[in-house]
Amino acid sequence: MNAPPIASTSAEQSAVPSRFDLRAALKDSFIAALIMLGLSIPILAYKTDQNGAQLFLTPRWGLVAIMCAIIFGLRLLQHAFMATRAARQALPDPHQATEPVHAEPSAYQRVSRFAIPFFLGIALAFPLLVYVVQGGLNESRYWVDLGILILTYVMLGWGLNIVVGLAGLLDLGYVAFYAVGAYSYALLSTTFGLSFWICLPLAGILAAFWGMILGFPVLRLRGDYLAIVTLAFGEIVRMVLINWTDLTNGGAGISSIPRATFFGLPFTADEGGFANTFGLEFNGMHRMIFLYYLILALALLTNFVTMRLRRLPIGRAWEALREDEIACRSLGINTTNTKLTAFAIGAMFGGFAGSFFAVRQGFVSPESFNFLESAIILAIVVMGGMGSQIGVAIAAVVLVGGPEMLRNLDFLKAVFGESFDPNEYRLLIFGMGMVAMMVWRPRGLISEREPSVVLKERKAISGSFVKEGHG
């Protein structure tokens, strides 16, 4: 347990001599490039294009040469870097907590005291900031939209964090509850004409109910098996949504879902609308800003409830369950109830987020709820350092906002040509990022823990002391 997770790469490092041996490094880099050549034949070297029913091949050996050269260069750099690092004293990574318990408040704790109000302030003032910077309501549309998207994922991440981070149950089918929430709102509002404010709690309750139904059979499962079964449930829900056309309209989805109203005032230009009542000039952005604050409030609610729950007996039972299920049971914790409440409460927030998704889009279809979505939410939780609330928020900003930023970088177009679309490579980079994260920082960005219960003073606990997801 004490072994820092980073030590796993030591096999690679010990193979490298402490002094930089150029010949060996060149030889090794050459081999790496050769392997890259092998890997890129034929997937990169030939592109299959379609001409009518006939496939034909377009050779792309230039691309292969570039890729091999890049790998050669990277490997050489890695050798040089590792040689210099080995020459220096191997200092412990200051970001990764290596000591089990710090006597003094760590850098993270000191920063977090100011960082949390700071980030919260930014989130609250975001539409105003964008309005000032962009100089107009309509100009800030893109940014507010991006903010809504990021906050949706922050909320989903916090919701899943209850299940994965606190209770240690690895759930790969979280998107099912998101889907239940979205379809609840879509069906209830289009069929019975219920308003968003009635549907929101209903969607949460329905999703929690589904969390219990899907959670009940998997109570006995742990770790990998639990992950795979929840994945199967997620896929079953999606396939039922596709195939049960009488209820869900199948793959075509449900469109023209009623918009959210400002507590009864619709965002329309006519008499009795939001703008008219408050004497403002009508602007479509009012609705967007309202949605932004709505999702911010929902996300903060998720966070608040989680933080409070952690101090209640049930929250402590979750964390105890994560550490050791057998010990829990022998100490008289009802593991069935503990697991089911974790599933239900996590699912409920997923349902809220789903309901919000439906009202924002005005359209839901099964394609929005595929496995990839689950993987992205899980990646946010893992990258945030399972269990850390602020870490999840940072990870959501990085993982969802990062690719958007990539799209805006014009110099990339200059390098790769006009037709370059970074969005195509989003998931490619995302997959590599997930692997890299696990290799370099398996405990996530914020690996330290705030203890839930303290005797005298709060001390940070190293992430290596926390078991995650044993189920």
Partner: protein, 306 residues
């Protein structure tokens, strides 16, 4: 009756493809206890490798004999996919050994996302149809209502190739020193290392064998369906994993048996019930087996020591 026999043949063909993929899951799980989530995408990648080499051989090199072309394609696909399997293990899984338990699973999900998007970006998102390869069928018997029970050459090739390669593979695992080292690592990795077995190399070899068998499955899949796309890895992957679990994860005969059962269930389900819900059936079986019978048909029950 005729429909039943026909579905039996189809189911066994499909089942042998699933069985080949399932071996990759079951061996990796047996030796390092992780679900190699990316294995389905390795299978999809191998189908693409096979497709491209088939095109190179038939259109550029002008090999007219389909049998020869298929054989060459099979060998090349196995070799190149093995290299991928080796590289994936080396980059994404080996550094994680000794890390917390779910790290390899999350890393494998990352590899899976990477592979399917790598193929999508480099080859395009559309379905890739192959030129017709083997079209002939043997009519076994004619039914009274005019329904012919047919066994196509494709199906013969798939079943025979699977049987031959499984025999070779079985021989390697049971009779050679490589196989002995592999089984030793499966039983107790630390002890095997103490006794002088190169554990890292053995684990790499497991991935290589798994990838090679996935490449066979990929080539056969291409031959059978004649079309492949970048997201064809996920669902067959999950079904093959279901097969491995159903047969008892860690057990090699169990993987093949599970594959055949899943193949049969899928074809009979499509024939007699609804084709729309065939994937739901496969996923439900997965959930049911894991919940009620986690050690599978031929597996050993897992006992947790405190």
């Amino acid at each position: 009756m005729e429909i039943f026999v026909q579905q039996l043949i189809n189911g066994l063909t499909l089942g042998s493809i699933y069985g080949l993929i399932a071996i990759g899951y079951t061996m990796v799980f047996g030796i390092i206890g992780m679900v190699n989530f990316a294995h389905g995408d390795v299978f999809m990648l191998s189908a693409f490798i096979a497709l491209i080499f088939f095109l190179i051989l038939t259109t550029w090199l002008g090999i007219s004999s389909i049998a020869l072309a298929l054989l060459i394609v099979l060998v090349i696909a196995m070799a190149l996919t093995s290299l991928w399997g080796w590289a994936i293990e080396r980059i994404a899984y080996r550094p994680l050994r000794g890390s917390f338990r779910l790290a390899p699973l999350i890393s494998a999900i990352g590899v899976s996302i990477f592979l399917s998007n790598f193929v999508q970006v480099s080859q395009g998102a559309r379905n890739k149809p192959t030129p017709p390869m083997v079209g002939d069928v043997i009519v076994l018997f004619q039914g009274a209502s005019g329904y012919n029970v047919a066994l196509s050459y494709k199906q013969i090739i798939i079943m025979v190739t699977t049987a031959v390669l499984l025999t070779i593979f079985w021989y390697i695992v049971q009779k050679t020193s490589l196989g002995r080292a592999q089984r030793a690592c499966e039983q107790d990795r630390k002890m095997a290392a103490l006794l002088g077995i190169n554990v890292d190399q053995t684990i790499s070899l497991t991935f290589v064998i798994g990838a090679a068998l996935a490449a066979v499955a990929g080539t056969m899949y291409l031959l059978y369906y004649g079309v492949v796309s970048f997201n064809d890895g996920f669902v067959p992957g999950v079904k093959a994993f279901t097969a491995a679990v159903l047969g008892g994860i860690g057990s090699l005969p169990g993987a093949v048996l599970g594959g055949l059962i899943i193949g049969l269930i899928e074809t009979f389900w499509s024939a007699y019930f609804t084709i729309e819900y065939k994937d739901v059936a496969a996923f439900s079986i997965l959930a049911i087996v894991l919940i009620f019978m986690p050690s599978g048909i031929l597996g050993r029950p897992e006992v947790e020591k405190v």
